[in-house]
């Protein structure tokens, strides 16, 4: 049977107005339901006719899952909050500017107006083989087309690749990991709360899914504790174009300082592995050290010690090294020399 792309197939569209209604829908037929938030990731899959769900549940009518509010000593963000609203939220700006900064670097203004924070963390990978419908490991097949001697893998993984070399493309996820965010998930057996980094899966755990969400699960809230509010933040995203581009790599760091000494730190990168990659070794190594160039350099080396380049992505190793260094010691401002 011939293949055609870019024409939306038919499906039942359901638009629940409450989480309870969505829950009911999911409990009745969890395996045939596609959950959609802003649609930026979903519409690509649907229009390409690679995914043909019987029912699409448009979550955007559920007001209780939208907006930023105070929560204990931190904040709770409804996953349907648009990236633009995350960027502009006064509480986010005041206490968690790293998240505001990360969200503002996502894609383009139009996409941020439509795309949601929940969608940004839950989106699928952008490996161009997988997204074009090639029957790879991630699609349930038995081959990786990117990791061949001539596979085009400039944008693929240097870390934690196990058969699949796709990467997480999220800009907000590393920032949420750095902030020690908790993700609240509604399941058919009730609600559970997990650490941000545990929301994401590498290929060794599940090669066909990027997140822990099972059919019937809904991400209902993202909670950020007060622990890391207003710590020393660093976020940087490297991309080919200055707007409307996924990261080649990004880095998010939160550091607690005593003078110039790092007392505690959390750090994660995206674009390096299939999941946002938390740098726990680096965090441990820099604790108690001075936030200077030497600490940064040593941390950079440690961060990439397990990195394995593919044919076209070896640049990601020095890139990651330097981003880790900069996250710790900052960017040396340009003093132009003759």
């Amino acid at each position: 049977m011939a293949v055609i792309r870019d024409v939306m197939p038919n499906f039942d569209l359901v638009q629940p107005a409450s989480l309870a209604d969505a829950r009911k829908l999911l409990d009745s037929d969890p395996d045939n339901v596609w959950l959609m938030a802003g649609g930026l990731d979903s519409f690509d899959w649907l229009k390409d006719r690679i995914r043909k769900p019987k029912t699409v549940v448009d979550l955007t009518g559920i007001d209780e899952m939208r907006g930023v509010r105070a929560w204990n000593d931190g904040i709770e963000i409804g996953p349907l909050t648009t990236l633009t609203d995350v960027v502009n939220d006064p509480m986010v700006k005041a206490k968690y500017s790293i998240l505001s900064q990360a969200a503002e670097l996502v894609a383009s203004p139009q996409i941020r107006n439509q795309g949601t924070i929940g969608g940004n963390v839950s989106q699928d990978t952008r490996c161009w083989y997988y997204r074009s419908g090639w029957p790879c490991y991630r699609a349930g097949g038995n081959l990786c087309y990117a990791d061949t001697p001539v596979g085009r893998n400039r944008e693929h993984a240097i870390l934690d690749a196990q058969r699949c070399v796709a990467v997480s493309p999220s800009d907000s996820a590393p920032a949420l990991i750095a902030l020690d965010a908790k993700f609240v998930i509604s399941t058919k057996n009730g609600e559970k709360t997990i650490d941000a980094q545990d929301y994401f899966l590498g290929p060794a755990i599940d090669i066909t899914h990027m997140t822990i969400l099972k059919p019937g699960d809904i991400l209902t809230a993202i909670r950020i504790p007060g622990t890391w509010a207003n710590s020393k933040f660093y976020f940087e995203k490297i991309r080919d174009r200055n707007v409307w581009d996924f990261p080649l790599m990004n880095i998010a760091a939160a550091m607690k300082m005593s003078g110039n000494t790092i007392t505690d730190a959390r750090m994660a990168v995206a674009g390096a592995a299939a999941r946002p990659w938390r740098l726990t070794d680096v965090e441990a190594q820099i604790k108690g050290k001075t936030a200077d160039e030497a600490t940064g350099k040593a941390a950079g080396e440690l961060a990439v010690k397990d990195a394995v380049p593919l044919q076209f992505n070896a640049y990601k190793i020095p890139l990651m090294k330097n981003l880790v260094k900069r996250a710790i010691s900052g960017v040396q401002e340009a003093t132009w020399e003759a």
């Binding site: 049977m1 011939a2 293949v3 055609i4 792309r5 870019d6 024409v7 939306m8 197939p9 038919n10 006719r49 900064q101 503002e104 670097l105 383009s108 203004p109 161009w128 083989y129 074009s132 087309y145 061949t148 001539v150 596979g151 085009r152 400039r154 976020f235 940087e236 490297i238 080919d240 174009r241 200055n242 707007v243 409307w244 581009d245 996924f246 080649l248 076209f312 992505n313 070896a314 640049y315 990601k316 020095p318 890139l319 330097n322 981003l323 260094k325 900069r326 960017v331 040396q332 401002e333 340009a334 003093t335 132009w336 020399e337 003759a338």
Partner: protein, 877 residues
């Protein structure tokens, strides 16, 4: 109008403009902040602030073009906006393989689906027809030519069949219900792979285009036309490929070559010889309007709506593709969303809805998606160029030995290699030069002319080598270009009939000097270049491309009601020259521009023969034709007045809508009474047949003036640009920003400053795209494009060019054209790329990149390893 820049030097401070950690809002704020020392930001040096042609009323002035309001209000109708009663929608079945032979289809299920009305395959498409040139020469159809549908797909994505159904959703389901049995054939996407010993052939009969020798001229007869290229097999040896590992393009046998001057003597004279290889990328045109088309039949005539770069010349193309007389074809194209060379006479796919419409007996709309457009639309061929260049110690080029390998895609020989050589020969005035070229065939989508075909590649490849030579010789970058730049009637290309052709004029050195002054080149040279983490670089490039042609027609009808109608066959693809060139008519007849009505975009409205808007020829060619028809109109008005009221024709002044004592309405009524040459019943036999048909159709409806441009000229029209760039590179990430850019153009007389500025900056940006971001990526194992969406092809965004990007123009008339105007669409493209590449090399060194586009990966990895880390010969990475 000499630029009078302020003297900002005392304020010049080397502040960095951007940091790599900028968010979009910070970035916009940073780039919006024009440093107060920047001379581009004030004074009257900016192109948009200058006064052009102060003695003219309409030429050189800004105005509102007749299509503008419709565009602003969303009322402009592009092909996709049309609807017809009972209209069906069409979807295409595209080849799943890069090369194969269709053995059969099973259409049963699709045809049985409710709502499916018709299916056509290659068997329903007429064979490729011969074509006829203007002078009546028959060009035999190529057996390798492209048809709208095929049974032997030669690239992944080539249309195999088309389904018409009541809506796209049904048509798509029908496609999915079809089984196609395809025998896979050998394929290749990298031209060098096809040239290796035993390498696969992309076509069953070969892998390169070769042109058979031109037959000898028979005395007393016109010289014979060079035969069309044919597909042939060519393989290089393992010995030839020895240089591959070193990143040098093998200099093996090439089907095409030319040479002039004494190459050996030139290299002997040289104090420095460079031998360099560089690769440009395959780049899609990415027109915002895809090749959408709608068609229906009425009373034996076919009506086709689609985009084009020439309304007048698309008509015969449709006639040829459908094997129909042009009198039975109506083509409607009032608005076209970009062409850039991909829609010179529309595209062959536009006959798919026409054929489906005939079969289904209902109008059919074919909308192409972005992915389909990337596959079925056109692209610029990549070129790998290897140049051996000799320089004297003062930087003068003594000899050039240039070899080009062009990835010509699946259909048609691409002349980008030959064109790049011709451009190099003019732009750097090499006294001796040899070109050898291969136009290779690959199983990748068809290529076509793209803004400065060959010009972009030639200049992007060659101009940065001047920068390298200047660094080695300790010379200034502007100076080394000035010493090699053409001027006046400079020579271009190889000898034709024993003599090298020349251009009409060239004032590039003037543009280079004025541009360097405006950009403050000498001051910028002295600025510090390095910080701990950043490097800054500046680059300059010279650039040129074709900019005119001659011999086209104009047609004016003054109705008995006094309406003044200019019939115009120029395609409206957004450059505004369908309107701009007609300012000449208002100027010549001393009319109010607002009294002129331009009729364009619909061949049922009787349009004259016009040039295609390709090769940047329209502004030159059609201002000439506009002047010819305006003068003819004036002559006729005066003769009609003389015949009506006595006196000599010259005694009746033509001004402000009157001739002598007569209004235009009275003159038109008199012209109809006089008949003959005054109302279109007799026209110049030298007019093109398209114009004659149109004139015959309007004959008797008023005063009809039709004329051909027979003005003299001497030389080939070319326009020029001097271009200047500054970049700032983050050495820790490889990320860089283009922080400043200026294009100073030599385009002859400026017709419409605002439109000119749009073209200069827009086409410069197209050039920049080739340097910084845009490319194709193919998987060579499977022969399939993997980067096929716009976000993956990465055309540059508005945040990738400096906000304060500047342009200016000399406004020196071309002496070989009565209006003095030349084209501008393509000339700035090559320099747009080259200036960035030179600036980057200035910042990070010569041995960092050998291919474009240059991205952070290239820079970072090469700096880390202290040598170029991307192979310059591998395709599509």
């Amino acid at each position: 109008m000499s630029p009078n820049p302020p003297n900002p030097q005392d304020k010049l401070t080397p502040e960095p403009k951007l940091t790599t950690t900028s968010t979009p809002s910070q970035m916009i704020a940073a780039t919006n902040k024009v440093p107060d020392w920047n001379p581009n930001s004030k004074g009257n040096v900016r192109g948009q602030d200058k006064t052009y042609s102060p003695d003219k009323k309409w030429i050189g002035k800004n105005y509102q073009t007749p299509d503008l309001m419709a565009k602003v209000l969303g009322q402009a109708k592009y092909a996709e906006d049309f609807r017809a009663e009972g209209m069906l929608f069409c979807k295409l079945l595209l080849s799943p393989v890069p090369h194969g032979r269709v053995r059969g289809f099973d259409l049963t299920k699709a045809l049985a689906m409710p709502g499916v009305k018709a299916i056509i395959t290659a068997d329903d498409v007429p064979p490729i027809a011969d074509s006829l040139t203007d002078n009546g020469t028959v060009i035999k159809a190529s057996k390798w030519g492209e048809r709208a549908l095929t049974n032997e797909p030669v690239y992944h994505g080539e249309p195999i069949l088309a389904v018409a159904a009541v809506d796209e959703w049904t048509a798509a389901m029908a496609i999915e219900a079809i089984t196609v049995d395809i025998e896979p054939l050998p394929f290749v996407v990298d031209p060098l792979d096809s040239l290796r010993p035993g390498g696969p052939n992309p076509r069953t009969d070969g892998n390169v285009w070769a042109r058979p020798e031109t037959p000898k001229a028979v005395p007393g007869q016109p010289p014979p036309r060079p035969p069309d290229p044919i597909v042939t097999q060519m393989k290089w040896s393992d010995e030839d490929f020895k240089t591959f590992q070193d990143g040098k393009l093998p200099l093996a046998k090439a089907p095409e070559t030319w040479e002039y001057g004494d190459l050996e003597a030139g290299f002997k004279k040289a104090d420095l010889i460079l031998d360099e290889t560089f690769q440009t990328a395959d780049v899609s045109h990415i027109c915002l309007e895809p090749r959408t088309a709608m068609a229906y039949w009425q009373n034996g005539k076919v009506y086709v709506h689609s985009g084009t770069q020439s309304t007048a010349q698309t008509l015969p193309a449709i006639g040829r593709w459908l094997h129909m007389d042009v009198k039975d074809v109506v083509f409607i194209s009032e608005y076209t969303g970009g062409g850039f060379g991909s829609k010179i006479t529309g595209g062959v796919t536009m006959i798919i809805p026409a054929l489906l419409s005939k079969k289904a007996n209902a109008p059919v709309m074919m909308r192409l998606t972005r992915e389909e457009e990337t596959l079925v639309g056109r692209a610029r061929p990549a070129i790998i160029g290897r140049c051996k260049i000799g320089f004297t110690k003062d930087g003068r080029i003594t000899a050039v030995d240039y070899y080009s390998l062009c990835n010509g895609g699946s259909y048609d020989a691409q002349n980008d290699g030959g064109s790049s050589a011709r451009i190099i020969s003019l732009l750097y005035t090499a006294p001796a030069m040899r070109w050898r070229g291969v136009s290779a065939i690959t199983n990748t989508p068809p290529r076509a002319a793209m803004s400065a075909p060959g010009g972009l590649q030639g200049i992007a490849i060659f101009d940065p080598f001047l920068s390298k030579a200047a660094r080695k010789l300790g010379l200034d970058q502007v100076a080394i270009r000035n010493i090699n730049a053409p001027e006046g009637k400079a020579l271009i290309g190889p000898a034709v009939n024993g003599k090298r052709p020349y251009v009409t004029s060239c004032f590039l050195k003037d543009a280079l000097a004025k541009g360097a002054e405006q950009f403050q080149w000498s001051k910028r040279v002295s600025l510090p270049k390095r910080s701990a983490t950043k490097a800054r670089g500046i680059g300059v490039a010279i650039s040129t491309y074709n900019a005119g042609s001659v011999g086209f027609d104009g047609l004016i009808v003054i109705t008995p009601e006094g309406k003044f109608n200019i019939h115009c066959g120029i395609g409206n693809l957004g450059t505004e020259n369908f309107s701009d060139v007609n300012r000449v008519v208002a100027e010549t007849l001393d009319m109010d521009w607002n009294d002129i009505n331009i009729i364009w975009g619909n061949t049922s409205k009787h349009l004259p023969y016009s040039c295609v808007s390709g090769g940047s020829q329209t502004t030159n060619a059609m201002t000439r034709a506009a002047l010819a028809v305006a003068q003819e109109c004036k002559k006729q008005l005066q003769e009609v007045a003389a015949k009506t009221h006595g006196g000599s024709p010259e005694s009746h002044k033509v001004s402000r809508g009157r001739v002598g004592g007569m209004t235009y309405a009275e003159a038109a009524q008199a012209a109809i009474k006089l008949g003959g040459k005054y109302d279109g019943h007799e026209v110049d036999p030298g007019l093109n047949r398209v114009t004659k048909t149109s004139a015959a159709a309007v004959a008797g409806t008023g005063l009809v003036a039709a004329a051909k441009d027979n003005f003299a000229h001497d030389g080939a029209y070319m326009s020029y640009a001097a271009q200047f760039a500054e970049v700032e590179v983050d050495l820790e990430t490889g990320k860089y920003h283009v922080t400043d850019f200026l294009t100073y153009a030599d385009v002859g007389t400026v017709m419409h400053p605002r439109a000119l500025g749009g073209q200069v900056l827009g086409r410069t940006t197209l050039g920049i795209a080739h340097a910084i971001s845009q490319k194709w990526v193919f998987d060579p194992n499977y022969g399939i494009m993997v980067a096929k969406r716009m976000y993956q092809n990465r055309p540059p965004t508005i945040l990738d060019v400096p906000v304060d990007m500047q342009w200016s123009a000399l406004d020196t008339p071309d002496p070989e054209s009565p209006i003095g105007a030349r084209g501008i669409g393509e000339p700035p493209v090559g320099g747009g790329a080259a200036a960035i590449l030179s600036a980057l090399a200035d910042a990070v060194g010569d041995d960092v990149f050998q291919r474009a586009p240059v991205n952070s990966d290239t820079i970072l990895l090469s700096l880390e390893n202290k040598k170029p880390m991307q192979h310059p010969l591998m395709a599509h990475i």
